[in-house]
Every structure is written in structure tokens, then in C-alpha cells.
């Protein structure tokens, strides 16, 4: 049995005639220790999918099984790294992580908690900024705090909702490596949602495209057989990488094109020519 299993999951917002289906026929199986990436267009319901798996929202129909039991509500076993960091602006970096540690490990002593917070912040290289507030941090630093907060809860599965979408390429690459490093070290299960195919290939074992919504559903999966640890610079010359990258992009482009053309309708333009209605000074002058 799979570690995480989604069976015919469907999610729609609203009720009755006005209801709009966002996700449909979502079937997904993730094994323990796997790193799966879901790549999709913006507005295809990626965040909804993460919210369903984390337990923030409930599916309209279908089942989500985590380790064989249905998901109901959130759990410390599934940590979420949000797209918009969602740090609490009135708390310092330390307090933001501390609140997570305190909730997850209520039995630990003050000293143990303090050590945990410090070690996770040290892991994402934020020790110098420990007493700063979120507004004093750059985007990359904020995301690192969010990563530390989620990891400090020591979740068995990490759910990532476009965690690096808003960062510049350099910071992004660095954080990708950090997340991979942590994942490999503790052998957790990870689900990454992204709109960047390269990021997906670099990080994941499998890539599954999410077809554009409404009624978004998952496409066929692409397995990535590139041995770890992967090297970003070498990856560009790797034939396997090139092959998979082209396949996925081709597939996404085809889907995207189909989606566009299905909405396209032909408009008949009226056969008209604009008429010049400006005052004709020369003719008026001649008259007088």
C-alpha cells in the first residue's frame, strides 16, 4: 500500500448551479521516501491540491489516505511550506520557529526546545538573523525561516507549495540544494508543487503534470532516472535530463495549446471602413 494515496479526489467550490469544479479525478500514489513533483500552469488548482493533502480543506468527494487512514484535519506528520511564507510578522525569526516546536513537542524541556530551534535555524544559515522580525528579512531569508519552521516540526512528509516561486534564480538554486540535502539526510517523503520544469527534474524522482483547470486532473507521470546527488551544472549536459525535459515541455505545450484552441471562436468582423469626420478647413476657407 502506498504511503499517500489519493482516490478519485474531486474538489469544487460553491454549491448547486454556481459550483465550480477545480480538481477532478485526481489519483495519486506516493511511496515512502519518494520525492514527487507536480508541475502545472498557474491557476490550475495546485494550492487547492496541497491544501487537500495537508488537511486544510476537505475534498468534495473521493478519498485521501495517509498511511492507510483517511486524512481529517491537519497533522504534525505532514508539514507544509506555504507559497507566501506565511510567517507571523509580530514574532521574531526565533519565535516563529519556536511556536512550531512548542506545539509539536509539548513534552520537551525548555532547553531541548531552544536547542532544536537554534539547530534548525543554523541549518538554513539564519543564526545571525535570529532576533529579527520578518519585515527586516529578504524574500529568500523569509522562505528559509518558513522552511526551518516546517522542518522543526519534524514531519514525516513535507508538502511544498511553490516554495521558491518568488525568489531570484541564485537564492532559488541554493534553497533547492538545502531542501534536497535535508530530504536526503532524513529520508522523508516530499511532495513539491512547482511551475518550473527544471526545478522538478532536478529535485524529484517523478514528475506529474497537473493539467490546466477548471476540472484540472493529473496527467501521465514522468520517471526521472538520474542518480543522486545530482549536479546542477552537469545536469545540463546529461542526455537523460535533456530527453525528459523535452518530453515534459512538449507535453505541457501540447496540453496548453489544446486548452487555448478549445476556447477559441471565430468572430466575423463587419466590413466597414472608418470615415474621416474631421473639420475640413481648406474647403470651408474656399467657400468664404
Amino acid at each position: 500500500m502506498a504511503y499517500l494515496e489519493l482516490k478519485n479526489v474531486q474538489k469544487s467550490y460553491g454549491q448547486g448551479i454556481g459550483s465550480q469544479s477545480v480538481l477532478q479525478d485526481i489519483n495519486l500514489e506516493i511511496e515512502e521516501g519518494e520525492f514527487v513533483a507536480i508541475v502545472g500552469f498557474s491557476g490550475s488548482g495546485k494550492t487547492t491540491l496541497i491544501n487537500l493533502i495537508s488537511g486544510l480543506q476537505e475534498p468534495s468527494s473521493g478519498e485521501i489516505l495517509f498511511k492507510g487512514t483517511p486524512v481529517s484535519g491537519t497533522s504534525h506528520e505532514r508539514g507544509v511550506i506555504f507559497q507566501n511564507y506565511s510567517l507571523l510578522p509580530w514574532l521574531t525569526v526565533y519565535q516563529n520557529v519556536w511556536i512550531a516546536v512548542k506545539e509539536t513537542f509539548p513534552k520537551k524541556s525548555k532547553k531541548e526546545r531552544d536547542d532544536m530551534v537554534r539547530s534548525y535555524l543554523d541549518m538554513v544559515n539564519l543564526s545571525p538573523a535570529i532576533d529579527k522580525r520578518p519585515k527586516e528579512l529578504s524574500g529568500g531569508m523569509k522562505q528559509r525561516v518558513a522552511v526551518a519552521r516546517t522542518l522543526a516540526m519534524d514531519p514525516e512528509m513535507i508538502l511544498m507549495d511553490e516554495p521558491l516561486g518568488a525568489l531570484d534564480a541564485l537564492t532559488r538554486g541554493k534553497l533547492q540544494d538545502e531542501i534536497l540535502h535535508i530530504w536526503e539526510k532524513n529520508k522523508r517523503t516530499a511532495l513539491l508543487i512547482t511551475n518550473d520544469v527544471d526545478e522538478g527534474i532536478y529535485m524529484a524522482d517523478r514528475i506529474i503534470p497537473l493539467l490546466p483547470g477548471p476540472n484540472a486532473t493529473l496527467g501521465p507521470e514522468f520517471k526521472i532516472d538520474i542518480s543522486r546527488p545530482r549536479d546542477k551544472t552537469e545536469l545540463n549536459d546529461n542526455p537523460e535530463f535533456k530527453k525528459i525535459r523535452n518530453e515534459i515541455i512538449e507535453y505541457l505545450m501540447k496540453i496548453g495549446h489544446e486548452n487555448d484552441s478549445s476556447n477559441e471562436s471565430l468572430y466575423l468582423l463587419p466590413d466597414l471602413e472608418p470615415k474621416d469626420l474631421r473639420w475640413d478647413f481648406s474647403s470651408k476657407l474656399k467657400l468664404s
Binding site: 486544510l56 507544509v80 507571523l88 510578522p89 509580530w90 522580525r133
Partner: protein
Amino acid sequence: MSKKLSKSIRFIGLGFLEPLIHLIQGKETRKNLILVLKKIIAPLASFVLFMGVWQTGAQLLYNKEADYRIEKARTEQGDEAAIKMKECIISGDVSCQPNTLPSPAQVKVSFFKLIEDHKIIRQDKKDFKEKTASLNQKRIADGKEAITYTGRPSFVDQIITSIKTVFAGFLLAILIAVPIGIIIGLSETLRDSFNWLIQIFKPVSPVVWLLLVFMIVKTVTKDSNTDSAFIISFISVGLCSMWATLVNTTMGVATVDQDFLNVAKVLKLGSFQKVFKIILPSSLPLIFTGLRITLSVAWMVLIAIELLAQSPGLGSFVWEEFQNGANDSNSKIIVAMFVIGIIGFLLDRIMLTIQKLISFNKNEGN
């Protein structure tokens, strides 16, 4: 000028003097000249304009009142009386001065008079205390109440009483509005069920609140001899001014950012923790905006309420002066007007500073 100096000047609120100092030092003459014109000369010009309008207006009203008096004397008592009246007015005699809008100079004189009066009363109080000290000791030893000073309060005493009343009212407003706002904000059902009450009572005039409080407090304090005027006025001030805080607190608690609520869910915070760690901190800025409005409303209605409740303070000072009708009453009222305005401004500034200290930008966490 060193950075430290300019920073400290800005801190004490004299930042507008900075370009003048630069100009004197001969730095960037053109730029600083424009800045001086903008920040110092223009406000000064507006002040001069204000004084000019006031002075001319007061002069016109004075002349009209004087003409009327002379004319009245002529029709009632004949030409001789009219000439006498004219001479009397010109001589500046107190008995026949026209009673109208006072000029800036008169107001200034009244201001110093009030200060002088305060000094006299303070001395009087001190003397009284010294005189009765030994007697009071005896009375207390005998189990009797001490004799207290019962002379009239000075202008400064009135100001202090007013500030005390407004803070008591403000405190009452906080104690009522913030907890109720939080409770109502947390539950949509409660919000819906109490909305009519808030909407109906919010626009009720301070005067009506005063009467309502009077009805209740009068009965409650029937068998004790406490100072009910103070109680009535501070409760009325609190009830009138608490609505802004109530509405803002409710709003703030009800509209917490979904991102923060998601964090609370993912961390699995208990409901107590959720309220105190997520909902309250995130609604603090809105709560403080409400408190700021509440304090300024409290100060505004306080004067009206004191005036009606006959409770000591600036409001009753103004009313007594108006009833008094003495020669300098009008200028004393104008002095009180400026004092009320300046204190209101200072209170608002204090709240603004606190608000700035605790507020955060909603997007800072993102």
C-alpha cells in the same frame, strides 16, 4: 551638521528647523532656501493670516457693538448720554465695554490672568493645608473626617480634572469594548445577533447617553455620598466613545488573514493559543486605530458632558464663564478653546505614536 544632531532634532519634533540650520551653515543654499520657505515661512504666513482675520473680525464686531450702545444711549437718554457713553468706551472703562468676540491681545491677557489666578489659589491651598494640619491630625485621631479645601478650583485644576475624567472614561471604554469586540468578532452568530444593537446605539448623541447614565447612577448612588458628578461624566464619556473601538476590534478579529489561520491550523494550535498567539496580535493594529478614534471622541464629548453634568472640568469652566458674563469671560472662553484643542492634539499624537510602535504591515510576513 552632524547626523546625530539632526536625528535628535527630528526626534523631538523640530525637524522643520533642519533646513534653517543648514542654510545658516551655508550648505546647498538654493535647496535649503526653498525648504525653509516651504516648511517655516509658509506655516508662519498662515499663522499671521489667521491672526489678521481674527483681529479684523474682532475689531469689526467691537465697532458694531460700540455703535449700537451709543445709539441706544442716544434714543433712550438723549445726546448727552450718547457722548458720555462714547467717552466711556474710548477710555476703556470696564463698566461700559462692548461684550463681543475678544481680540488676540485680550485673550493673551486673559491667559496670563488665569495663570496668575492659579498661582494665587495654589498658595491659598498651601496656606490652608498648613493651617489645618494640626487640627486635621487631631480630627483623624478622634475618628472624624479631615477638613478639606473647598475653595473654587483654578483653571489648571479644571484642566487636570478634565484629563482625569477623560482617562477614566477611556479606560472604561477599553474595558468594555475590547473584550466584547473580541468575543463578538470570533463568532459570526454573535456578530449577527448583536449587530442591531451596535448599529442603533452607535449614533446616539452624547447628551442622551448622559441622561441615561444620570438616571442609573442617581439611583445606584442614592445611599452613599460619593461624588456622582464625576462618575456620571466619566461613564458617559466611556459609553459615547467606545463604539469606534468596539467596531474596529470586531472587524480586526473577524478579518484575520487566512494565511495566519492556515498557519494556526498546520501548527495545530488550540483555540486559546489561536486567539492569543494569532488572532489578537494580527488584529492589534486595527484595535489601536479604534482606540485612537475613541480617545479623540472621548475628549470631544467630555467638554459637552461636563458642561451639562455640572461636573468640574474645562466644560463647566466654559459654561460658568459664559453664564458669568464678566468683562473678560469671553476671552477666557477663547483661552479654554485653545487649551482644549491643544490637549486634544497632544492626546492624538500620543496614540499615533503608540499605534506606530505596535503596528506591522500586513504583508511583512509574506
